[in-house]
Amino acid sequence: MKQYEITFIIDPVLPGDEIKTAAKAYEKLLENEGCNIVHVDETGLKQLAYPINKRNSGVYRTIEFQTENGTVIPKIELAMRRDERIMRFLSVKLDKYGVKYNDDKRNGLIGKKASKVEGKEGKKDEFVVKDDLTLIEGVGPKIANLLVVAGVKSYGDVANASIEDLKSILSKGGSSYAAHDPGTWPEQAKLAADGKWAELNSLKEKLTGGVDRSEEE
């Protein structure tokens, strides 16, 4: 039993259902040839690194399948070459490490992607719309992450949190975060929570790194 994966780019200009039928046609072809389809990865519309056939984006699909022998490969490649809907394709035989990598990736064990996926799913349960905390001057993506982990998930939460609370969250995150001053964060978050974006922006202009410089001067 050999495991292969074939990645192909479908023309994005086609109507949505035709893209699906194009992808399904190749799954059918493989099944008719007696292949066992392990997984179909619908990566979806992506920007191309360089234009192909005057298109700047393409719909990526990856089919991973097992077959007893490789006779199906020339057949599917010929079909793809003849198919105008397919812009590019690449078929690759997976070694045992490749098979394991793809398994792990599906189970969310690989690196950053895994933690992101887990985090998203976890948050969805408790919270529907997560506010973008990084819009607060002084809060970067990492600090926003810290806050969310500590249970401060929305502008409202930041607005209601005391400065001491925020400071303790930061210092728990490590010494590199302890230097950040959350003094104005609740004030900014309150404006954001009320939807007063214009006022927030004018306030942010006065601030650098979340600290009010105008008062000190």
Binding site: A49, R88, D95, Y97
Partner: protein, 88 residues
């Protein structure tokens, strides 16, 4: 006047220290290089999208060859560019 303790800050103490390069694939036990992961592969190409040599990345020969194959596959699928400027 500078005391004896200050003298060490007058020149960068790290100059001349050799940081030993290592093969990250061997060190972290990465056995498979995914050609569909552009963020990972950009670590092995320069700003023009050219492959970096082993003497810079520190990869072992075995994995440098695999990196090269993965980058070439990614280029074919328009995941990485063949030629560009300001990739990073």
């Amino acid at each position: 006047m500078a005391s004896r303790d200050d003298i060490k800050f007058l020149s960068n103490p790290n100059i001349g220290k050799d940081k030993k390069k290592y093969c990250r694939f061997k060190k972290f036990g990465i056995r498979h290089i995914d050609y569909k992961d552009p963020d990972f592969l950009t670590q092995f190409v320069n700003e023009q999208g050219k492959l970096l040599p082993r003497r810079i990345t520190g990869n072992s020969l075995k994995y440098q060859k695999k990196v090269a194959v993965a980058v070439k596959r990614a280029r074919h699928l328009a995941i990485l560019p063949y030629v560009t400027d300001l990739l990073k």
